[in-house]
Structures are given as structure tokens and as C-alpha cells.
Symmetry: C3
Subunit: 453 residues, 3 copies
């Protein structure tokens, strides 16, 4: 399928290019800088800060990581020859440092150093992406070629970093709709300089948010920019605040959490991740496999005539749907993706860079998400108001002429009426084999004539 770049589409690739150099991690200024950039695109985005040490169910908000610089030198005699220079001005890739590396300065033997190096023998030109969020450690990531070039027995390591009491930072945008029912869109902002996983998610979500805000919507949209795992758990465990008033409710003596609110109102949603390249399309369903998120995603792919890989929650999950769909949370959240995390060789390496993603790839994802949301917006339970078939002709709902097109249109109209028996529109469309948005159009027309309710 040839995909063309739509000149009217938002410049998602440009946004990704702007955001690429920022050194994001689970916490810290990289996250703040990223959210600040997005706030310029989404004026109503709220940025929240949650202090280190805050409890989030089984987890605790970690200290904030401040990474200043690092050096790795090979000691030739006592003189150091620079192997990796991660001082701000000289830094070539944010991936060279193991994220959340602790402060360290000293001489180490080759043997000791090797315990702290990470490279990929099968991908000799790739720098791997490694984190040590919840374990005090330090380390460097480098290409296999760089590692193979090391010759000395003694090295000098200087990592200037700090783990301090600070905050976890996240962004939240509520776009109110005509109804209180909500759709969740969530993405991660904790990955440093990588393209598909994960600048594609934030820029597609930003584009979706602009589009959602550009017209009245039936449902309310809850849009989250979160650091992975801990961010989702922190968000679920926060007291729910009535939009705008900033007051909190309580229930049964404990605060009314976002978790409680979301279980009440969220009818569907997606963890937006890995949606920037052009190799393929993928879908990872919710744990229950048959929620509205799943049927709408399937209908969106079908409606657009796009083939896709189907993954399984039990075997293949790996992003924040792990939290949204956990027992006790049980939200209907899936993921529409391009090349899925873990399934492409560039994943979690420096090769997943700006050349791996493209405006074309991002627009493809945007299109499927928009279609899925249109389907969720259009999805209703229609019921026939009339006993037996109504007379369509006098209402101008029957196309005369007997052409093939007229016959097909009349058949679709009659089928929408015949199956308006309590099932939802997505089910109805699948049963009668007609595109779901075309069914919605017919149903709304019949509703205007009082034939459906």
C-alpha cells in the first residue's frame, strides 16, 4: 500500500526531530523540557510533579536522577586517552550512559570495567539502551566495535550524577466531551533519544489531541504523557480531582483515586507506542481481547483496508497496558502500533533513531487511531422503532432505478433496520458486512426519520 504524506497533517516528524536530542529519563529535567515543548502545542496540558518517596500501590516514586557528565578514559601509562566523552558539549548519544547510573570516580581494571560495559555482539554498530532504575549501579553502553577497540588494562571512570529527592513529572490533558464517558490515550516520555520507541508515541498523541480538540466530541478524552510503569501506577494512585476545581473527593474513608474514576468512565483506550516506522502495522489487544478498544481497532484496520499483525496480551505485552489491564485495574486498553517493540532489530538501540521513523509512518498510525476513535464516537446501540419494515420510499430513503448501486444501498439500509435489535454498531456492521462508518451514516439518517432510536 502506497502511503502518501498528507500536507495538512501536523508536522509530527519535525516535533520528533526537535525532541530527539533532549536527554529524557524516568524523572528529571529531560522530562520537564519535553513536556514544556508539548505544552506549546497543547495549551491546556497540565504538568504535575509527584515527590520522590510517594507511595503508588506496591511501588515508590524513586529519587530524581541528575546526570551532569561522564568520561571513560583508557590509561596509557598514567595518561588518559578518552574512550567516551559524555560532557554536554561533546556527547554524541544519550544512550552511552546507563540511565540512572550513580556517581563514580576512580581507576578500574579492565576486568572490573567489563562488568559495567554493555554492547551488542550481533549488532556491532549499535549502542544498546540500558537502564538501572531500581538498583544502584553505574555503566556505559557502547558499540561492539568501540568495545573491541579497547586495549588497555586500566581505565579512569568519572561519572558526575546525583540521585536526589525531587519529583516524578507527568503531563495530563482532559478534553471534555458531550458525555462523561472517557477514552484514554497514554504514551511514555521516559525514553532518551530514540525514534520509534519512543518519540513516535508522544508526537502521535500530540497530533491526536490537537485533532480531538478541534471539534466537539461525544466522549471525554483523558490524555497522559507518563514515564513508563511507575508513571502509570502513580497516576492510578493519585486522588482524582474534579476538572478545573482542583478539589478531591473521598469514598469509604479513603480518597477517590484516578483508578476509581477511570474504572467508572473509561469505555476504551490505547497505549500509544511504537507508531513511527513504515514496515508494518500491529495490534496488541487488551487482556480480555474483546473490549470496545479491540473491536474498534479491528474495525478501523478493516475500514482502512490495512493488514496488520495480531499479537497476544499473554505473550507479547510490554508497555503500560501491563498496568491498565492488570487485575483490579481492568481497563479496556490495547495498542495500535507499526513495528512492535521487541519485534524489530533496531529496538532499544541507537539504530532506532530519526532515520528509522518518518512523517509517512507517523501519519499512518495517526490515521488508524483517528479511524478507531471515529468508530468509538459513532458506536451506539440503535433500536428499530417500527414493527416490521417501514416504508422507505415515501421518506426518500429508498433508491429507485434498480441499478446495482441502488440495490446495494437499499440492502444496507434494510439490513441496518433488520439488525437494530440491541447490538452495538460495530457488531451490526460486522454482521451485515458493511463498513462501520457507512453503517453509522445510515443509522443516523434512519434516526432522523424516527425509524431508529
Amino acid at each position: 500500500m502506497a502511503e502518501k504524506v498528507n500536507s495538512a497533517a501536523p508536522p509530527m516528524y519535525q516535533w520528533a526531530t526537535d525532541l530527539f536530542p533532549i536527554h529524557r529519563s524516568l524523572t528529571g529535567d529531560g522530562v520537564r523540557e519535553t513536556l514544556s515543548y508539548i505544552q506549546k502545542l497543547l495549551a491546556n496540558l497540565q504538568v504535575h510533579e509527584v515527590p520522590s518517596g510517594t507511595k503508588a500501590f506496591d511501588w515508590t516514586v524513586p529519587k530524581e536522577w541528575v546526570f551532569r557528565y561522564a568520561r571513560l578514559e583508557e590509561l596509557v601509562d598514567v595518561r588518559g586517552e578518552m574512550v567516551l566523552d559524555l560532557r554536554p558539549a561533546a556527547r554524541k548519544s544519550n544512550l552511552h550512559i546507563v540511565q540512572y547510573s550513580t556517581k563514580f570516580m576512580g581507576r578500574v581494571s579492565r576486568e572490573e570495567l567489563e562488568q559495567h560495559l554493555h554492547s551488542l555482539p550481533d549488532q556491532p554498530d549499535a549502542i544498546p539502551y540500558v537502564t538501572s532504575y531500581y538498583k544502584d549501579d553505574w555503566g556505559f553502553c557502547l558499540t561492539q566495535r568501540q568495545r573491541d577497540a579497547l586495549k588497555g588494562d586500566s581505565y579512569f571512570v568519572d561519572i558526575e550524577a546525583e540521585l536526589k529527592d525531587g519529583h516524578l513529572t507527568y503531563g495530563e490533558l482532559i478534553i471534555p466531551g458531550a458525555e462523561p464517558t472517557e477514552v484514554l490515550l497514554s504514551t511514555n516520555i521516559c525514553h532518551p533519544s530514540m525514534g520509534n520507541n519512543e518519540l513516535s508515541g508522544p508526537v502521535v498523541v500530540t497530533a491526536l489531541a490537537q485533532w480531538l480538540a478541534s471539534a466537539p466530541r461525544r466522549h471525554t478524552y483523558r490524555i497522559l504523557f507518563l514515564p513508563e510503569t511507575i508513571g502509570a501506577l502513580v497516576y492510578l494512585s493519585q486522588s482524582n480531582r474534579t476538572i478545573g476545581l482542583n478539589i478531591s473527593c473521598s469514598i469509604n474513608g479513603r480518597p477517590w483515586l484516578n483508578l476509581d474514576h477511570m474504572k467508572q468512565v473509561i469505555i476504551a483506550g490505547y497505549q500509544v507506542v511504537c507508531c513511527g516506522d513504515t514496515r508494518t502495522y500491529s495490534y496488541l489487544p487488551s487482556r480480555k481481547r474483546t473490549t470496545l478498544a479491540d473491536s474498534a481497532a479491528v474495525a478501523a484496520f478493516e475500514s482502512l483496508g490495512i493488514d496488520y499483525e495480531w499479537y497476544e496480551f499473554a505473550d507479547d505485552r510490554g508497555s503500560d497496558e501491563r498496568q491498565w489491564c492488570a487485575p483490579g485495574v481492568d481497563l479496556p486498553i490495547g495498542s495500535i502500533m507499526r513495528s512492535k517493540y521487541g519485534e524489530y532489530p533496531e529496538y532499544h538501540t541507537s539504530l532506532d533513531d530519526l532515520s528509522f521513523i518518518s512523517q509517512e509512518g507517523l501519519e499512518g498510525s495517526l490515521k488508524v487511531y483517528q479511524r478507531a476513535i471515529e468508530i468509538i464516537e459513532a458506536n451506539r446501540v440503535y433500536k428499530a422503532t417500527c414493527i416490521g419494515e417501514p416504508q422507505l420510499g415515501p421518506r426518500g430513503l429508498y433508491q429507485a432505478g434498480g441499478t446495482k448501486e441502488a440495490w446495494a444501498a437499499n440492502k444496507n439500509t434494510l439490513n441496518v433496520l433488520a439488525y437494530a435489535d440491541g447490538r452495538d454498531l460495530i457488531d451490526l456492521a460486522e454482521t451485515i458486512g458493511v463498513d462501520v462508518l457507512e453503517c453509522a451514516r445510515i443509522a443516523e439518517q434512519l434516526k432522523e426519520h424516527g425509524l431508529l432510536e
Copy 2:
């Protein structure tokens, strides 16, 4: 499969031959004459007349159409040369006039005439069947060859017809059974001179009614001869009358309609249509696909070893099951057919004549309908009365000898007992892989011995 004409079978083909020349339409004397003929075969058939203008849910009973004669002449100079002479004595086919054509007399240009002509370029010898029930218009149907032979520029049209306040006429026969549960058999009497669609339905229903009345039945049979669509809707919207007393009931301040009654009592039924040729067998299921009508039809075909085409309600419906199965009506009605409407080239043309159907074809349909009804009559929920297997030997229910036949018979008996756990007989027979009527025989025998209830 070779099908033989059963000399004991009713002369359905002769009846069709007698009825063929009558000019039936949605309303009028053709319908009355047809019902009058059938009344001679079914003494208790009630003929009802519903006045023009009567409301039937979303519809209204149309005016009655009286067609006296018509002429179409080609004007050569000012002298007319007859193209179509539809005066009673000269009329060759009732299909030549568009049904419900309005009165018209005058000269028309070739161009104007063409707007009122109907023919089939792909079937040059066929006269199409065209109606204009709910739109005031006039027209002629002719073969493509006749049309191609027209040469003049000017024509004289004389249609002597009337749309007058009159009645819609239908026939109703209730054959009371031992139980108030009902089976519906419905067929259409509004088609003029065609064979499969639709003299086959009325004559097969007539034969079924004679057969049903010839012996005591468990269920009550509601047998309807209706003009299509409007007839079904009129029937559903009529006040329900207690059989024989002709008094009407009411509920919640509105009359108790046939609709209300039928929703209470009808357990299965068929729209009998297109059952006169020998090319194939077909089944169109009810909207819900798994009603008793559907399982009994499938079991009947299987019991008789007959292959058939399976159609889908959503894709293929087209007769009064559109009304019987509509939301709000929701009756369990399917159609056992030979060549299905819309699926054979002679459909709705003059080629669907007496040569297209045959006594053999009609008897094939009769046989399947009878088998389906036998299955519906036999279908019960049997329950084992005995804890564990009973002793069959002392009751003479166990065939000794150890032959293959004895072993199979014993196995069937034990299986009927083992699965008499609350499922119905059709389900039981399918589970144990035995013909449903054979299961019924075994079950009744076990019931006589007190082993089932």
C-alpha cells in the same frame, strides 16, 4: 437423487395449472378468485377483506387495482397497428402490463413511450414482471425482441384501469392442535402468472394444510395466504380474534393484535416460497439462525439425505420473513426452497412458467416440509426418570444376539437415556448422531416403559 412422483400425493401441479391464468395482483378480483379456488380444497379457509386506507404500522392498505384492458398501437400515418393487445380475449400474458398501472389514454412519442417500457436485453424472449404498487405510473412489459421491432415515432396508448377504494384480501386457516403452541405457514398470492415464484408456495401450502388436517396434531397450525409485505404487516396489525367467536381482546388499553398473539405462541414456522422446480434445494434461516424452525429444517434435510444451499438472512432474504423476523416481531421463521428467488435466471420473468415447475419438484418440497413438521411435532424435552442406567433386558428393550444391528440399536437406546438430560430431541439426536425421528421412536418407547418423562 432420483425423485419419483408419488401417485398418492395431491395434484399440486394441476392446481397450479388451474390457477396460472388468473390475473393476481396485490389486491383485487384475481386474489379473490385464487382464494375461492383454494377454498374448494380447504373448506375451513377464512377469507378476510381489509379496507383501503387501513393503517398497518408504518404502512397503509393501498387502493384496490381494477385492470380492465390495455392497448399499445404503433401509429403509421394516423392508423394504429397493434403492438400489444391486452383486451381480455386477446391477452397472451398478464405480465405485459406493469402491475398497478394507472388509467392512461393518448398519443405519445417514441421517446416518451420508452420511459414506460420494460424488457430484458440479456433475455430477449422473456417478459419481465414489473410492479408500481406505491407510485402512480403506467407501463408495458415486453420481450426485447418485441421492443427491438418497434419502428415508429408515435404511439397510441390506451390503459383502462382504476385505483378505487376497495379491499386487501387474504386467506387464513387455523388447524387446532392438542396444544396452543403454533406453527406458522405463510405464502404469497399476489403474483400473477408465474410458476415457481409464486404458484408453488400456495399449492404446497394447500397440500400441507390438507395433510395437517387429516390427522390429530400436537401443535396448532396458522396458515396464511397473503399478498406480499403489506399483507404480512396488515395481518400482524389486525386485532386477534379468538377462533370461532369473532370477539376481540385488548391489553393495556390497546387491542391485542395478531402480533401479540403470535409472539406468545409461535414456536416455529416457514415462509413457503419458490418450491416448485427440481434444480436444487435451498434454506434461508431466520434472523437468529438457531431457532427451532432452523434446527428442524436442517434435521429434515439430513433425515432425508438431501443436500441444500445455505443462505444468510442478512445477505439473501427477500420474502415475508423480512416482516416475520423484523425487530419487534422476532418470529422464528425460515424458508425451505427449491431454486431461491433471485438465484435463477427465469426469476420474475415469463420464463418462470408452468414448464419451469413440475409435480416432482413440488412433491420434493412437500416432503421436506412434512419432515420438518414431523420433527417439530416430535421434538420434546425428555428426562430420564431412573437413577443410573435402567435394566433394559427384562423390559424387552435390549436386543440380544450381539449382531452389529443389535449392538447399534442398544447403543442408540442407551444414548437416548444417557443424554435425556434437559436438551430437546433435535439436539439429542445431533449429539448422538442418530436420525431425529428414530430418536423420537426410541424416546416414546422408553416413555411407555416409564424410563423417560
Copy 3:
């Protein structure tokens, strides 16, 4: 699949060898002698005797059969030449006499004798196993070669047997568990000298009972050694006695039967039959096909990597599951087998002897039954206690290192947590594609850490 004899396994084949010569039948001293032998292996086995004439639902306990000896002589002139000498000292096979043959002495013609002879033309060296439990008759079983060798016209028959008021004898062992929920293991002790059908069942059940009694169990085990059909029905119809107290309860004015008790407490069970050879494995499911007995058996075969034949209750049943699964009894009972009755040529002949079964074959069955029971014991409904994923690392539940094994272990742990949503362990294990006992291990570990309940 190579199966090795486990030297620690109980000597089931030796037990079968010891029991082989005993002349068991539906009733009588052979049954008593067999149960007495088993009592030496299972000290708590209770032996019950139910008098002839006792009612058991539709059946009656038959008279007890006492077979003393029999002779069949060919009369040459008037001198008899011994054909079959079934006096105790000379008897070569217990199968030579039709079981439950009545007393008879007299001269018979060749023609009359033939009515009382049973042989197998297709298996000329096999003596068939024939019974006449519920019909007064006598007869001899012999090989086709022996039968073909008969030449005389006149024979002398002397059968010294008695049908007397006596008892039906069965064995019952209750092994109490921590919970009152029960698992049923039932086997037949009415077959004379045959190996697979049926000494394999009693010896495997004996080994299972020793194993079950050797450690504390969660469920209670009800273990029955019964004559076929009548034994099961008698057992179901007996008054239920509280374990140890020997008092009986009543309900609604009638005794509280074993039937009533078993319907309350039995969660799964097996009819243990035909489990001694090494040709194949088989499974016959319960009537409902999806009970715990069935899912545990399937999971046991899968857990052990053993292929097996799947049979159907409707087509293939033939042992006491006919009673356990009958409507009104409805227990969840299947059969794990090696070569299934009716499916191997040696079945019900003298060729099903000690050479047909082996210690290896018996141990194979024992292993599958033990695994199925382990699965039933381990099967619980676990529920996650934590909102979202818990932190596994700090609890030592997360394997670091990123090896394939570590990754798989972590995935299994997270999947057990993710699907602990109300389904049982067998369902959970199948959903996430992990061995059920491995799932149980993980779940118990998570429960110890308070993450599941």
C-alpha cells in the same frame, strides 16, 4: 517414548500376577478373596456385603454364584473322552465356563451343545470371556481350534454350580483430606483371569491409594472396588454413613444416599480401567466433556508430554462411567486408559493375560493418574491482591541477568499475576501456555509474598 520401570514404584505387576488365578465374578468368593488380598496392601479398606434381592434403583442384587466344577466329555460309544476338565485341580482357564452358568448334568446332542459353545473364528487360539448374569443359562467358552476338533454327535455335560441367596461384595476406602471435597477413584473387581481388563484397574488403584495415604492431601479420596454396573448402582443407592460413626442420615423422609452425598462433594474422579499395557494412552471424557476431571486429565497428559487417543462419551463409553455420568447422577468422571476396552483384539479373551500387561505399562498409567491428581490438588482460584503490577525485584521474585531463562521465568511470573482474575489454575495455565504445576509453584510463591490470595 521410552518408559523406564521406576524401581521405587509399587510392584503392581506382581500383585496382578498373584490375583490372576482367582476366579472372580459378579459375586462370590473370588471377589472376597481378591478384596482380602488388597486389604493386606490397604489396611483401612472396608469390605461391605449387600444381600441378594436388595433393590438398587431399577436393579436388584442377583443371587450369588457358586461355581464348583464342570466337565464336558465327548461320548465315544458310551465312554466319555474329556474335552474340557474344569475341576479345580485341572482347570486351565477360568474363562472356559460362561460366568453365572447354572447347574446342569446330562447328555446333549452335538446340535444342542453348539447352542452353548462360544468361540472366536477370527482368533482361533483365544478363549472368549462370556457372561450370563441376568439370564439363566449355561455354556462353555473354548478356542476355535478346540471347537473344530470336536467330532462326536453326543456329549456329556456336568456343571456343578449354584445360584444362592448370598451377597454382593465390594470394597470402599475413604482417605480423608483437609477439605470435605472429594475425588472418586473407582475400579472393577468382577472380571476373572484377565490382565488389562481387568486386573490393571485394581492394582493401579491400590498403588494410587497407597500413594494418596502416604502424605496429607487437600481433598478427600473415595476409592471403590466394585463389581461392574450393579456394584456402582448398589453403591449409589446405599445409605450414606458418616465416616467412622456408622450412623445414617435422612432427608425429606428418605435416607440420605451415597448418591446424594457424592453429588454434593465430588469435584472430579476417574473410572480406572484398562491401564496395563504399553501400546497407547487413551482418554474417555465425562458426559459433559468439560468437567474438572477432563481438564485435569488433559493437563496431565500435556504436562507429561504424552500423546493420547480422545474418545467420546456418546460413542465409546462402556465401563461404570455409564452410571456415574447418567442423568440424575451427573458426576464428573472420566477414564484415563492405555489400550481402551473394545479397541484391542485381545479384549475380553484369554489373550488379555499377564503377557499383555507389564509393570512398565502399569507405571505409565500410575504416573498420569498421579499427575492428574496433583493437578486437581493444586487447582485453585488465585486473585491478585495488588493494583497494577507489583515490584518483583525487591522481593527476589525477579530474575535479573537478561538471559533467555530469566526472561521466560519473569514472563511466567508476570503472566500468573496478570491472569489471576478469577479463573482456575488449569484455565490460567492453558491461557498463558505454561505447565500447570509450574504455574502452581509460581502462584504459591506469589501467595507467600502476599501478592495472590
